[in-house]
Structures are given as C-alpha cells and as structure tokens.
C-alpha cells in the first residue's frame, strides 16, 4: 500500500533547509491545535473545534508541493490545511475567538476559514461539500489557461457523499488539475470506516480512470514525494489524482469528545507510536540534517509565535453590531 522514498531518488529532492521549514509548519499546526484545545477547556473560545493533531504530515506534505497561487479547499478539521497553505497564526486565532481581526471578520469561525491570498477557498462545514468547489476551481484553471492546481482535502467520512463521485467523474472526463486528498483517519465522527465504506477506497477513484493510490499519511516524506508527482502531473495537463493518506485522528472528533467510547486506548497507543512529528524528527536527526537543539529552537520559536498570536486574538475587538448584516450580498 504505502510507498517509500528510498526507491526513487527524485523523491528526496528537498534539502535540509526545506525539511526544517516543513518541520516548523508541522510544529506550528500541532502547537496551534494544542492551544486551541486549551482555549476551549478554559472556556476562552466560543463553540467547539475539530483538531488535526496526528494528521499534520498530510497538510504540510501536500502544501509544501504547492505554489501560493494554487488552490485548496478544506474541511471542518481544517486548521492544518489553512496554516500549511500559509495562513497567519494571529488571524487564525482571532477567527476562532470570533473577533473582527479574524480571517472572516468573525463570521466564519473555526470551520469556515478562507484566505484568498494564500489560495484557500475555504474550509467547509459540510462533509464532502467542497468536492464540487475544488473541481470548479480546476475547471476555472482550465478555462483561464493557467498552470495552477486545485487540491481538495477531505476525510474518509466524505467517501459516503455522492458529490465526491460526481466531481471526480467530471474531473477525469475533462482532465481537470484537481488532486483529491482523502485523509483516512479511520473515523467519520464516531463511526469506524469499516462500518461506513464498503470495498476499496482507491478503487472508488480508479473506477473513473483517475490515478489513485494509498500511502502512509504519517510519513511526510512519502506524502510530499507522492504529492509532488501527482501535482506536477496535473500541472502539465495529466488530469486529476486521488490519494488515500492513511492516518489517525489522535484526539476525539472535536474538543469535547474526550471519552471516545467508540475506540480502544490500545488502538490509540499503537497509532501514537507513529506520530508524524516524531517520525520526521527521528529522520532529521538520524540523517544528520538537523541537531536536537535546532529542532528545540524551532519548537520554542513556534511556541512564542503562538503565544503572541493568542494574545493578539484575545485583545482584539469583537465585531460591531453593524457588521451582522454586512456581506450578505456582494
């Protein structure tokens, strides 16, 4: 199922500097999410949020292969995608806290962060709801004649949605530059995918003739190498691809899902051995591309940046009442 980089020398193109940048992005997402959880448990954040912890290698591995003008669509579990595509910490936290300084002026919140400047067409509260949007972005790219690429992130829960299959069918018919990235974190909300997805996951796409493969979603080197190949292929007119990235949601469905009666602690411990951050750290150290103190410095810098961003967000103003019916229509 999974591919390793060692069989293909072209897959290890990134130099140490870039791997450290990818590491920093992963640490940023992990720290952001842990902090979001703290904001929830300390009742400093309205509503709930869905944490991406455990899946960081996918967002970063894919987005590090994208250009700023490439598009992504994201999900309810979307902070990782937004940050990996270049979103700023302060505007992210401000949005989570419902502040006017947030990416959506406090109108979207955790599940709807969009940022045109970094090509983020929006996280989505409807499971699978962005499959059409990402495909439409691909259609737009084709009609405008650019060499951009559109990436649709979604979870294995979205495999139950018909829109995904309508979209993939058309993307293949018209050779649209769309990469469908299925983050198979094993659970759709509280239901294991063995109870939700019959047959083969990759077979769903290969049946349409879409290039499809399943990979290890915990290993950023595998994710990145595979993403580069399919993204470059799409950029050159080769059409869509479908990646099933096998991963695990280390936390509950959302921050309030702390008991997790639908799965065992043993299963969680097994997956915790394959923490994507630890895997990258181990490889960076073992291959002597970074020393321990460099990684620690990155962690500390990210922690400081996250603390500053939270302070900014907490001090920021709530939107004024006049904002409530602004932007209903353009």
């Amino acid at each position: 199922m999974s591919e390793t980089n060692d069989t293909n020398p072209s897959l290890n193109e990134l130099d140490a500097e870039h791997w450290l940048q990818a590491y920093e992005q992963m640490v940023k997402i992990r720290t952001f999410e842990e902090t979001a959880n703290e904001l929830y448990t300390s009742a400093r954040m309205p509503g709930i949020t869905h944490l991406y912890i455990g899946e960081e290698a996918i967002a970063v591995g894919v987005c590090e292969a994208l250009r700023q003008d490439d598009y992504i669509t994201s999900t309810h579990r979307g902070h990782g995608h937004c940050l990996a595509k270049g979103a700023a910490l302060d505007k992210m936290f401000a949005e989570l806290l419902g502040k006017e300084a947030g990416y959506c002026r406090g109108k979207g919140g955790s599940m709807h962060i969009a940022d045109q400047e970094t090509g983020n067409l929006g996280a989505n509260g409807i499971v699978g709801g962005s499959a059409g949007i990402a495909t439409g972005a691909g259609m737009s790219i084709k009609l405008r004649g650019t060499d951009q690429v559109s990436v649709c992130f979604f979870g294995d829960g979205a495999l139950g949605q018909g829109l995904l299959y309508e979209s993939m069918n058309m993307a293949q018919l018209w050779k649209l530059p769309v990469i469908y990235v299925c983050e198979n974190n094993q659970y759709g909300e509280y239901t294991h995918n063995s109870k939700a997805a019959a047959g083969s996951m990759v077979g769903r796409a290969s049946g349409f003739g879409v290039h499809a493969q399943a990979i290890d979603g915990q290993d950023i080197r595998t994710v990145h190498a595979t993403a580069r190949l399919v993204i470059d292929r799409a950029r050159k007119g080769g059409g869509p691809a479908f990646l099933v990235c096998n991963t695990y949601r280390f936390r509950g469905h959302h921050v309030g899902d702390i008991d997790r009666p639908y799965r065992t602690r043993e299963e969680e411990e097994e997956w915790a051995k394959r923490d994507p951050l630890t895997l990258l750290e181990d490889w960076l150290l073992k291959s002597k591309q970074a020393e321990e103190h460099v990684l620690e410095r990155i962690q500390q810098e990210v922690k400081t940046a996250v603390d500053d961003a939270v302070a900014f967000a907490e001090e920021a103003s709530f939107p004024s009442e006049s904002e409530v019916d602004n932007h209903v229509y353009a």
């Binding site: 002026r105 045109q116 929006g122 059409g132 069918n169 932007h327 209903v328 229509y329």
Partner: protein, 342 residues
Amino acid sequence: MSTLENGIHCSPAIHAPGERQITFGQAIREAIAEEMARDERVFVIGEDVAAAGSVFKVLVGLLDEFGPERVIDSPISEAGIAGIGVGAAITGMRPIVDIMFGDFTTLVMDQLVNQAAKTHYMSGGKLTVPMVLRTTLGASRRSAAQHSQSLHALFSHIPGLKVALPATPFDAKGLMKSAIRDENPVVIFEDKMLYQEQGPVPEEEYTLPLGQADVKRTGDDITIVATSSMVYVALEAVEKLDSIGISAELIDPRTTTPLDTDTLVQSARKTSRALVLDEGYRQYGVTGEIASVIADGAFYYLDAPVKRIGAMNVPVPFSPAMEDLTIPNADYVVETAKSLCG
C-alpha cells in the same frame, strides 16, 4: 413603452407595436450570447446544453458560436455541476449552471444553500460567487409531479441568494443580463410554457435591475401582484375585471429576493385592496411573504384582507383533468378580486 434609461419600469406593454418581436426563449438565448461575447469569463454548463441546445431548444447555436470549452455538456450530475459553478465563480469565472427542470434543484440544495449563498458572508466579504443558476418552473405540460413544480420559494427563503422570475421576453433578457453581471449567486426561474411567448425586445443594449418591480397595468380599485406565467393569468383577469367596471393594477415583482417592497406597498395604499398570485404551492409560498409585506406596509389603507392565490397543495397530477385544477386560472382570480371589491 416607457424609457429604457435607468431601467425603470420599462415594459408596461406586453405587446407593444413597432418593436422587434422575439420569443421568451430567444430573449434568454440572446442575453446569454451577448454576455458571453462581452465577457470571456462567462460559460454555460449543464445537461444537454451544447449539442442539443437544451431540451427546450433555448440554447441552440451557442455551441457553434462559442465552442465546447464555453458551452459544456455535463453528465447528469446536478449537484456536481452546481459545485463546479461555485468553485469556478469563486476563482474568477462567471458560470451559468443550467438545471433542466426546477424540480431537479432539490439535487443542488447544498451547493446553493450552504455553499453559494454563504461563501461571501462566511469569508467576511473576501470571496464572491458570481454565478447564475437557470432553471424552469410551471405546470401544464402534462409532465406530472417531478417535472412541473414551481420551487422558487425554497430559494427566496435563503439570504445570500437572489431569485428572478421573468414573465416577458423583455424582462427575461434584461434580468438575465443583470444576473450574469451580478456579483452574487442568482437563480433564474423560467416558465417552460413561456418559451414561445412573443414580445417586444429592443435591438439595443439594456439591463434591468434585480429588485425592481414592474407595473404591468395601472389601475385604481385593486392591486394584483403576479409572478412569472401568472402575470398572463392576471392580465386575462384584469381585462375581465375591466369589463365589469373594476380597475386593477397589475404588478410583477420580477425578483422575489430582493423584493421591491416599496412599489408593492405604494400600490396597495393607492388601491386599498390586494391579491397575490403565484404558481408555487400556496402553503408557505412567496405569496405569504408578499401578502405580509403589503399587510404591514398598507394596513391602515386597506379595505379588505390581502388575499393570496397559489397552486393547490398537492403534488402536480398527470391527468389533464386533474392538473388544470391545481393551477390558478383567470376566472378564479376574477372571482377573488370581485369578492374583495364587493
């Protein structure tokens, strides 16, 4: 005919002499072709829109004129093409998504209601969805319950969407052009029975604003508000009422969202009576909203309760013997108007 300048009340006469006459369907086609020629971002996607020129033949010739890249035959995937429309619109295109029958808009609900309508707001005004979804409404084609509904009320309910229901070729062209140029998602409902209806449409360029009602006939005794093909039912009723000495004012809102409440209220204040006519199901239909707007705005001027007439609250039946019973007709409108004016 009144002036075209500023697009204000441009089509009071439905059969004005001395002007070029084209059909409703030709007016729609002309609007789309003109906008496609004017703006290369405009494209059409839908089932049988290209090679077949749409099932109602409204788009015949577009494929030859603009090519398969901009007039795209899609699979039978309503939700998918609506989603493609949203994504293309967000990223700089101006898609026209063609949904063959209004009944099939139930299949695009999430893409319209949760995606298109909310994207601008949820993004704090950063993203826009300049997309048109054109579809049909109306019974009387003996097409039974899944090809005959008038479902515009569903979309009129949703903040973030605009909904247009042209009744005349003139309105169809002007509203379609405005819809294509609008920065928001606009749903246009075209009555299938109107495609062959002739009417005056000037050769020269014009658009009609979304959100401006049109006074189709002026009158003094009662205001009749009618949408889409019900404008013709109302016109027939207006003429019958005229022959018995009741002068009716006929207003077509042309768009249900946004709704030109001022024109409706002013007319009801003038005539003191109002009747609202629409082909959607009567229960929770647009007639309820319009009647409420009039009752609120003209309460102290009214001599009778505001009445509303809609389609019967049943699935549209197949048999002509039954189908015709479900749709408002001129005689019923006349009787209702007489009862208000009695």
